[in-house]
């Protein structure tokens, strides 16, 4: 029996749903193959999240609480993760594929001489490793992969698995950790534009995404209005993050975020493959575009061919009626 | 940069690449400039490259395992369509299996890039391996003229000087106009638009459906319902595991009949006979491109001037006399002839029109201008609605009657024909056309 370990990411004082998705899947895999499941939380207040994590079936929860983890920084996080691995000796260590994970996964794998597959959309344990599916070629197609060895790291795209509650009496083990600030050569000087109370796109149920077609002020106002009517997160294509109209953290696509909401409304977005790479897994896609041949219509469940300035006002009004 | 080139070629299409190959082989210092991201990136042909000039540029190209071409043609078909039927003249012969082939099907984005690699190899082996270049993603904005003689080119802020410039810019010949070899205004009825889809099949299915063997291929031209009453015609060529299917249609006529290229192509694809051919195919590419009409009346007033030569479609060298579109082969031959002329000009150290006019003579003496001259009537005839409307209908009508066996007394085919003629045309019209046709082909 080996241990399957899930990393639990905390963001804005909340457990990331995508981490719990990973944990749920590990639980299921462990049951199937007779392994045990552990989780690790690394945060200044790691202990305050154990209650929630426990609901998803780990037998052990490791915590590392230190104020050094106030903000994401790769040096202390790597140090902590390496320590956890030494301590827990997991056969498989699984992460949600957040920017934080992307920042450390390669270095961690190199340090541990582990086999690593990043950004998978599905994985299964095998006798001597895992098989995993990865979207490639700007998510146009899927590749099937194998990773072999006695230590495997994997990161999983958000929305790949359903949450499955399975309450346990997990043992909580706090691990010692200390690190001097002076050991950190990469100095974090400033943080700009944290989302605060904004909706986390990777977990949003509804997303309104704006593209070049909605670049001007009037367009942006309509987008805001639509989003607030639906209580949706706002996302954007690269055309708008590049132009500085919308915060770069809200870019959706190959360079930006991968999202999988119930409803995705693409407004004035052409549907370039690099954008679609980030949103094709949405359950229902609505596209509003004045060009009837825009590629976004090829994947939209509901396409509205028309000028967004004319379409959005009645659309918003009708949605308001439905909502009330 | 004060380096001077012997020649700058504008455009890495078939014409420009052919010219570049000859220059490289003759140890000339030259620059080949292409505005596309790579040679062939935006170029469109149906496309059969007719004739054997390719073997002059890339000897024994057929030996290459994965060359730039798709299939050689040993099976040709000309099909007349009415709304429901297809009447074909079909010819297949093992005679065409011999190399050098007399026609190969190409996909331009692959073919041009492959040919550009061959040119690069030739440059690497030339005396100017370090001084001759193929530069892509660069658009030539202007041919620099001094005293009405070309002295180089300008792209953006950069200028480069050369003893000569070969303009091989294709059908949208802005530079040709800039140097004063053509009027700015070209009447719309002399421009056609070509649209094409590449449709993929399982390779085995494709080979069975078209009776292909190894790398043999088929070309099929269509007249009649293919363009739904608009002046023009359709084509179907077999590639390795795809077909190129498309239309060439008159822009003016299309506008007058309020049809879009897209509608026409869809209409063509819905024809019952074509539909059967396309079963289980998957569209993998769509492209559109202008084509010149091949009408001599819109040719540039001259193909040379001091320091300048024009080749390929920039000079409107194209012919569509009914049995095939010939543009790439003309582009290739004219590119070769232009480059040979530049080589001679360098030997004589004279790039003036005095020397360069030999290009025109070479062109006149070649099959290119000979064919263009002698088939002009056929080109004009194709503009005649009888040719793309009545004639195909008549032929199909006759076909239907001829091939129908319905347990009634059978009419003599002579009578059948006369019935069809009466229905779709008059003897008089037909005689006119027949007479013209016999003369023009």
């Amino acid at each position: 029996m080996s241990t399957l370990l899930a990393h639990i990411a905390i963001s804005d004082g909340k457990v990331k749903r995508s981490s719990l998705e990973v944990l749920s899947h590990l639980r299921q895999q462990a049951d199937e193959h007779g392994h045990s499941v552990a989780a690790v939380i690394i945060d200044p207040d790691a202990d305050s999240y154990t209650g929630e994590v426990q609901k998803y079936g780990p037998s052990t929860i490791y915590t590392i609480s230190d104020s050094i983890f106030e903000n994401h920084r790769n040096t202390p996080l790597l140090r902590a993760l390496n320590k956890v691995i030494d301590e827990v000796d997991p056969y498989l260590f699984a992460f949600a594929s957040t920017e934080g994970t992307k920042d450390i996964l390669g270095a961690l794998a190199a340090n541990q001489q582990a086999a690593v597959l990043s950004d998978v959309s599905a994985f299964e344990l095998t006798g001597n490793g895992i098989t995993a599916t990865r979207p490639v070629m700007a998510a146009k197609i899927l590749s099937e992969n194998e990773a072999e060895g006695d230590r495997i790291l994997v990161s999983v795209r958000s929305g790949s698995y359903e949450l499955q509650e399975q309450d346990t009496d997990a043992e909580v083990i706090a691990l010692d950790f200390s690190m001097e600030e002076s050991d950190i050569k990469a100095k974090l000087k400033e943080i700009i534009g944290t989302s605060g109370d904004k909706i986390d796109l990777s977990e949003a149920e509804t997303i309104v995404a704006a593209g070049r077609g909605a670049k001007d002020e009037e367009g942006q106002e309509l987008i805001q209005e639509l989003a607030s009517t639906l209580n949706a997160g706002i996302g954007a294509s690269r055309a708008l993050t590049e132009a500085g109209v919308i915060d770069p953290s809200l870019q959706i696509g190959q360079t930006g975020k991968v999202v999988s909401p119930q409803l995705y409304i693409a407004v004035g977005i052409s549907g370039a493959i690099q954008h679609v790479a980030g949103m094709a897994n949405s359950k229902v896609i609505v596209a509003i575009n004045k060009d009837p041949d825009a590629p976004i219509f090829d994947i939209a469940d509901y396409g509205i061919v028309g000028d967004l300035y004319k379409v959005l006002p009645p659309f918003i009004e009708e949605l308001r009626k439905i909502k009330s | 940069m004060d380096e001077k080139f012997d020649c700058i070629i504008v455009g890495a299409g078939v014409a420009g690449l052919a010219a570049a190959m000859i220059l490289a082989r003759n140890n000339m210092k030259f620059l080949l400039i292409e505005k596309g991201e790579f040679a062939g990136s935006k170029n469109v042909s149906g496309g059969v490259l007719w004739g054997s000039d390719l073997a002059r540029l890339v000897p024994e190209y057929w030996q290459e395992e994965d060359g730039g071409w798709e299939r050689f043609i040993n099976h040709r078909r000309l099909t007349f369509l009415d709304e429901q039927s297809a009447f074909s003249i079909d010819f297949k012969s093992s005679h065409f299996n011999e190399t050098p082939y007399s026609g190969v099907v190409v996909l331009r984005s692959k073919f041009d890039r492959w040919l550009a690699e061959k040119v690069q190899n030739a440059i690497d082996e030339s005396d100017f391996a370090m001084e001759s270049f193929i530069a892509t993603n660069i658009k030539v904005d202007e041919v620099l003229m001094e005293n009405d003689k070309a002295v180089g080119i300008r792209t953006g802020e950069e200028e480069f000087s050369a003893d000569s410039v070969i303009i091989a810019e294709g059908v949208n010949n802005l530079l040709t106009r800039q140097v004063g070899l053509q009027n700015d205004y070209v009447p719309a009825d002399h421009i056609l638009t070509g649209i094409k889809e590449v449709i993929r099949f399982d390779q085995k299915v494709l080979e069975d459906r078209f009776q292909l063997n190894g790398l043999s291929g088929m070309s099929n031209e269509f007249v009649g319902y293919a363009t739904d009453g608009v002046e023009g015609g359709g084509f179907l060529y077999t590639n390795r595991d795809t077909i190129s299917l498309g239309l060439v249609a008159g822009i003016k006529d299309m506008r007058e009949k309020e049809k879009s290229p897209h509608d026409l192509l869809n209409n063509f694809k819905m024809h019952p006979v074509i539909k059967d051919i396309l079963q289980d195919g998957e569209i993998v590419e769509y492209s559109a491109h202008a084509v010149s009409s091949g009408d001599k009346r819109v040719m540039p007033r001259e193909v040379y001037k001091d320091g300048v030569l024009l080749c390929g479609e920039a000079a409107n060298l194209l012919m569509n006399a009914g049995k095939a579109i010939q543009g790439m082969d003309y582009a290739m031959r004219s590119g070769i002839l232009a480059a040979e002329t530049i080589v001679e000009a360098k030997e004589q150290a004279d790039y003036s029109s005095q020397t360069l006019k030999q290009y025109k003579q070479k062109l006149q003496g070649s099959y290119v201008m000979k064919d263009i001259n002698s088939f002009q009537d056929a080109v004009h005839m194709l503009h005649n609605p009888t040719m793309y409307q009545d004639m195909p209908n008549l032929i199909c009508d006759f076909g239907r009657k001829f091939f129908t066996i319905d347990n009634e007394p059978t009419k003599k085919s002579r009578n059948l024909l006369s019935e069809s003629v009466k229905k779709h045309s008059s003897y008089w019209d037909l005689m006119k056309i027949g007479f013209k046709g016999a003369k023009s082909l």
């Binding site: 390669g106 490639v136 050569k185 953290s249 509205i304 | -």
Partner: protein, 256 residues
């Protein structure tokens, strides 16, 4: 400052592809400079233009990748090293990181830049691995770079906001394409690129430990994504179709 930029040649994801018996086939075997690496080159050029220094690109790949090296040189990089492979090896990010680490062992540099990921595989691992092997401080997903007091100031895109990080030299950074628009080489640049020095290194001469080259991961095949069908498309009066779709979202799709 001496910049090394690791550049990779990747297939053009925009070109048509097909899958035959689990294998990926590109209709045209068109290869390009990884877009993220192009941004890394651009940024290195901008910084050395401003602060002085030299930009060298390093590529691990087969002979035909020379084309990609020329592209970076045409953009303005000063020189290049081409670590040659046969092209048949099934290397993963870890293998490339080992090869690059071996190459950098005896080199002097201020900054090594990588792309944040390969455009075709989106792995995003090589940079971090290389930093670990070379024991360098690093930052990933840079969306802006500047130099202050001989420190590299990296603006990186994190999960929620941007983090400003000061890296001492030597260090490593991986670049997003969100930080600039890579320049298109000028004709002069293209002409000069041919004369710039490209050092060729055979992979065998690098003495990378054999077992480190062996990939622990492998691609066993490719397959199509489950097709997403186009749904209903509405054209007509904006007012009408907007209302119609809003109602459908409520009644048919049940998502509002």
């Amino acid at each position: 400052m001496k910049f090394y930029v690791c550049i990779k040649q990747v297939p053009d994801v925009n070109a048509p592809i097909q899958i035959k018996n689990g294998e990926l086939i590109q209709d045209t075997d068109r290869m390009i400079l990884n877009a993220y690496d192009a941004s890394a080159v651009e940024e290195a050029l901008v910084l050395t233009e401003e602060h002085g220094g030299e930009v060298e690109v390093v590529l691990v790949g087969p002979d035909k990748a020379t084309e990609t090296i020329r592209k970076a040189l045409a953009m303005g990089a000063d020189k290049a090293t081409h670590i040659r492979t046969s092209g048949d090896e099934a290397y993963d990010s870890a293998s490339y990181a080992h090869i690059l680490a071996t190459f950098f062992q005896d080199k002097e540099y201020d900054i090594i830049s990588c792309g944040k990921q390969s455009q075709d595989t989106d792995a995003g691992l090589t940079g971090g691995m290389l930093a670990e092997h070379l024991d360098l401080p690093y930052a990933t997903n840079a969306v802006g770079l500047s130099i202050e007091d001989s420190k590299l100031i990296v603006k990186r895109q994190g999960d929620t906001g941007q983090e400003m990080i000061a890296l001492p030299t030597p260090s490593l950074v991986t670049c997003s394409n969100d930080m600039n628009e890579p320049r298109i080489p000028s004709l002069k640049g293209i002409m000069q690129s041919k004369r710039k020095p490209v050092e060729s290194v055979e992979i065998a001469d690098l003495d990378v430990e054999e077992n480190k080259l062996k990939s622990k991961t492998k691609v066993t095949g490719y397959r199509e994504k489950p097709e997403r069908e186009a749904g209903q498309k509405f054209e007509g009066e904006p007012e009408e179709i907007a209302q119609k779709v809003a109602q459908l979202l409520d009644e048919e799709a049940n998502v509002v």
